[in-house]
């Protein structure tokens, strides 16, 4: 087999002892299904328990033990263990930088190993919610600092000097007074036998000494493997005797096989076995959809075998799901009063007494994450154990689902985490890993690689929700709103955990809906019910997408109604500089963070908007057919703004320039923040302009990249500027980076299209208006 990137060590001394090299899994406490799956840290926790936030509130919390995260071998090579999944955000590089900084390591002597799924050992591993560094920056710094102190102590003991006089720096240990120095390899083993330093004795390096953190010069730690084709993703894992599988799944969510005939499939050369996988009872959660599996000697034979299957399906209750009809039902719901989720002042009175009322109704369709690497997993289920190799954002959830479905004990399951060829939320749901395990089980323990084809991925995703957002405002004589009534109607991610759930959960409401940061006296926000007819799941930035699109489009509509400049109007609507308390805004989630630490600072939001506007030259004169648009948004405790210049022709919308500004607090790895913003702009453009998943007769109407139209290089703006807004010090809390770039992109483009043409498009994707 390929060695992959398992964390197993060869010669580590520090940290190795028995622990890092041991392949058996420590007994992991199985987290409750919902607590592992749903964001935690809600203020609605049991009232008599102390409130927990941030990393403390995540399932299995966090660790800062250097023996878990740092190993140094006899040659002095440092191996940092990365317990978060790498999917393009650069976390393997940023985590290695963080530990290397505190150690005083030379980058050329730093390696990275990937942790297997074991939260008892590593702390929380759910790589989602833009929180890897937000939650683990300080624990990892402490782990690096503790390892540094242990090295210094070991050298001090040998040299008979005080540990406070020994410095670990430049990958050396030095005692200035005596001029003695040594490499780390010499002392690694002795350091490993020392007790862990007392937490109070840990000193972190001051920011002024940083060589890696906050600097732009560190290249991707996986760069060479990626550019030479050696990087191993989930779909690339190879084992001796490996078999290959694909599965025909019910074309409608909730459907099942009525009957099937596998005889023709079995005649395809290379096909070894055809068998049924039972559908899982609701709630669907992260369980396989069921269907007919085909296992063969290679992927091609499996695909040809699947094409030869004769299957009759029962479509079940979602067989009539139709996107056009569903949109109408959401619009209907959005026009009727419903359960308020935030109510300030008297909206009805203010609307009744308004000099002017403005209404905007917005539609945001389903999307599929469609990572370039489709879901894939390799499994070997034999001799009462299960070992898998897979691209997962949720290693522990994968572990728990495998143990449950196979009836194994936690220590009989091992989840090896590969690189992810993109995730975007899809790979937080390990249904495909369980499928691979069921295939191996059916093949009497032979290792099986399960591949999702692109059609499988696009037609059986955990889709981004579909929403209608209706906002109505009362304007005063100056054109500023005195009342704001927003109804958000969208199937909830909660529906995959609680069958039939119809209201947005606190974490969905908290994504830019209830925490509206505008200075408006009367605000009411309502959440009418909406039923789900497909699996709904996280998609990069999640409910921020529809909320930001509607709110930031509507603000520009209000500015137009008031005959004001949209940027000036937006800044005035945000109002005076002030610190907003999430709880008082009705947001009991606050991205799981302590509302006394993470507070919405309107000055920072305005600063981001100003930076994007300045970058694009807001107010400059444009050629005919061109326009500028702007949007700002707070998400994942980070502030972002986008200014876009578009050109609109008969052929559609071309984005000519984008300026994106981000204030995420301290910047650990600015180079990767830049790349995340560039990527967020391109992904945001795809959903703004052309991407949509629609359903007819319960079936997705798109099947591959020919119909699911994502941004290609010719559409990417030739000018794309990223403005990183500096934090004053490294002591401030970190914000998220992976997701917050996405939400402001679509409204900025829609606003630019209005500026260019006078045409207000309220439904995504925008280019549909031009293709009729």
């Amino acid at each position: 087999m390929r060695p992959g990137i398992a964390a197993d060590a060869k010669t580590q001394a520090l940290g190795a002892s028995s622990e890092l090299s041991r392949r058996t899994v420590l007994g992991a406490a199985a987290a409750l299904i919902v607590s592992a799956a749903l964001p935690t840290g809600s203020l609605a926790q049991e009232s008599n328990a102390p409130l927990k936030f941030g990393r403390d509130a995540m399932p299995n919390g966090w660790r800062d033990d250097p023996r878990v995260f740092v190993a140094i071998d006899r040659e002095g090579i440092v191996t940092v263990t990365c317990h978060r999944s790498e999917m393009g955000q650069g976390v393997r590089t940023s985590i290695a930088m963080t530990v290397a900084e505190e150690l005083g390591a030379e980058w050329s002597k730093v390696r990275i190993a990937q942790a297997w799924g074991d939260e008892t050992r590593f702390g929380n591993q759910d790589t989602d919610g833009s929180r890897s560094l937000r939650h683990f920056f300080m624990p990892l710094r402490r782990a690096g600092a503790a390892a540094r102190i242990m090295l210094e102590q070991a050298a001090a003991k040998e040299w008979g000097v005080s540990a406070s006089e020994v410095r670990a720096e430049d990958h050396m240990l030095r005692h200035a007074a005596s001029g003695r120095e040594a490499g780390w390899g010499e002392f690694a083993e002795r350091a490993a036998r020392l007790p862990l330093p007392d937490e109070k004795s840990l000193t972190l390096r001051p920011a002024a000494e940083f060589r890696y953190l906050g600097k732009d010069h560190t290249g991707l730690i996986d760069n060479h493997d990626i550019t030479t084709g050696k990087a191993t993703y989930g779909i690339d894992v190879r084992l001796d005797g490996l078999l290959y599988a694909v599965i025909a799944r019910p074309p409608v969510f909730g459907g099942a096989v009525k009957s099937f005939d596998g005889a023709a499939a079995m005649k395809v050369p290379g096909v070894l076995k055809v068998f049924a996988i039972e559908p899982s009872p609701p709630p669907t959660e992260f369980n396989p959809l069921g269907g007919i599996a085909v296992v063969a000697k290679n992927t091609w034979a499996a695909i040809k075998g699947r094409e030869a299957l004769k299957i009759e399906w029962n479509d079940g209750p979602n067989g009539s799901y139709d996107s056009a009809a569903f949109r109408a039902s959401l619009e209907d719901a959005a026009r009727k009063p419903a359960k308020p989720v935030r109510a300030d002042g008297d909206v009805d009175a203010a609307l009744a007494g308004a000099t002017k009322r403005v209404v905007g109704e917005y539609y945001i369709p389903h999307l599929a994450q469609a990572p370039m690497e489709p879901p894939a997993a390799t499994a070997r289920v034999a001799n009462g154990t299960c070992e898998v190799w897979t691209c997962t954002q949720a290693p522990q959830a994968t572990h728990d689902r495998l143990a449950k479905r196979l009836g194994l004990k936690p220590d009989q399951v091992r989840v090896n985490v590969t690189l992810l060829g993109g995730g975007f939320g899809r790979k937080s749901k390990p249904d495909y890993v369980v499928e691979a395990a069921l295939c191996s089980q059916a093949m009497d323990g032979a290792p099986v690689k399960l591949t999702w084809t692109r059609e499988d991925d696009i037609q059986h995703s955990y889709y981004h929700t579909v929403s209608v957002e209706r906002i109505e405002a009362a304007l005063d004589e100056k054109g500023m709103p005195t009342a704001w009534l927003h109804r958000s109607v969208a199937p909830t991610i909660g529906s995959i955990f609680v069958d039939g759930a119809k209201n947005e959960l606190p974490f969905e409401l908290g994504m830019g809906l209830v925490n509206l940061p505008f200075a408006i006296p009367n605000v009411r926000i309502e959440n009418p019910e909406a039923a789900a007819h497909v699996r709904i799941g996280w998609f990069r930035s999640v409910s921020n997408i529809p909320h930001a699109f509607a709110i930031q489009s509507f603000v520009a509509e209000l500015a137009h109604a008031a005959s004001r400049d949209p940027k000036e109007y937006l800044l005035e609507l945000i109002g005076p500089d002030r610190i907003l308390d999430a709880v008082k805004l009705g947001d009991v989630w606050n991205y799981g963070e302590d509302p006394s630490v993470y507070r919405l600072d309107t000055a920072r939001l305005k600063r981001a908007i100003d930076a994007a506007a300045t970058g694009i030259g807001w107010g400059r004169k444009l050629e005919k057919g061109r326009g500028l648009g702007i949007a700002g948004h707070y998400s994942f405790v980070t502030y972002t703004a986008v200014a876009a210049e578009v050109e609109v022709t008969d052929g559609g919308i071309a984005v000519r320039q984008v300026d994106i500004a981000i204030d995420c607090g301290p910047q650990v790895n600015p180079e990767r923040i830049r790349s995340q913003m560039e990527g967020a702009v391109v992904m945001g453009m795809g959903l703004a302009l052309s991407a949509e998943i629609s359903f007819k007769n319960g079936r997705a109407e798109q099947g591959n990249f020919d119909a699911y139209d994502l941004t290609r290089i010719d559409a990417a703006p030739r000018i794309l500027n990223v403005h990183l807004l500096p934090a004053t010090t490294f002591d401030r809390p970190l914000g998220g980076v992976g997701e917050p770039g996405v939400p402001p992109v679509a409204p900025a483009i829609a606003n630019a299209v209005f500026a260019a043409t006078g045409k207000r498009i309220r439904a995504l994707p925008l280019n549909k208006e031009f293709s009729a």
């Binding site: 991707l220 990626i226 550019t227 779909i235 690339d236 290679n298 091609w300 692109r454 020919d706």
Partner: protein, 153 residues
């Protein structure tokens, strides 16, 4: 029986000649640098060279390689030092990296015929290579950097 070379090594294949090269390379030879993305030549993740020309491995049957030289990302250069690979690393183009072997194989073919590509040349030749992470601005810059490197090695 089909005879051809893969990365300079002679190969004979006597199975289903309709099988796309992608699956032969990945499943039979273990050359997993060539990626599966769509299976219909709509994303370019499987881009390889046949006699120097960039083709999509997912729709090219093995029979089409008869008598020809197939090159994959693993053999684009001996030590990962093709100008395209160097430029990709210098600009940290990759995010997840999954589509990048296909992007680099396409870019190398582009530079072989168009040593000084404009933005329009790049957009036209790279149009078929999808990147969901959105690395396009850096791909454009890296192709130009690679062109400059190739011009004065």
């Amino acid at each position: 029986m089909v005879d051809f070379t893969v990365n300079g090594t002679d190969k004979s294949y006597d199975g289903d000649e309709a099988m796309p090269l992608l699956w032969y390379l990945r499943d039979e030879l273990g050359l997993t640098g060539t990626k599966f993305g769509c299976g219909i030549a709509a994303c370019g993740a499987c881009t390889i060279h046949i006699d120097g020309e960039a083709v999509r491995g997912c729709v090219t049957p093995i029979s089409a390689a008869a008598g020809k030289a197939v090159v994959t990302i693993e053999a684009l250069s001996k030590d990962g030092d093709h100008p395209v690979q160097i430029a990709w690393r210098e600009l940290n183009v990759a995010q997840c990296g999954y589509c990048q072997p296909g992007q680099m194989m396409q870019a190398a073919a582009l530079l072989a015929t168009t040593p000084e590509p404009t933005d329009d040349d790049i957009d036209e030749q790279m149009y078929g290579n999808l990147c969901r992470c959105g690395t396009y601005p850096r791909i454009r810059a890296a192709i130009k950097l690679a062109a400059a490197k190739a011009a004065r090695p």
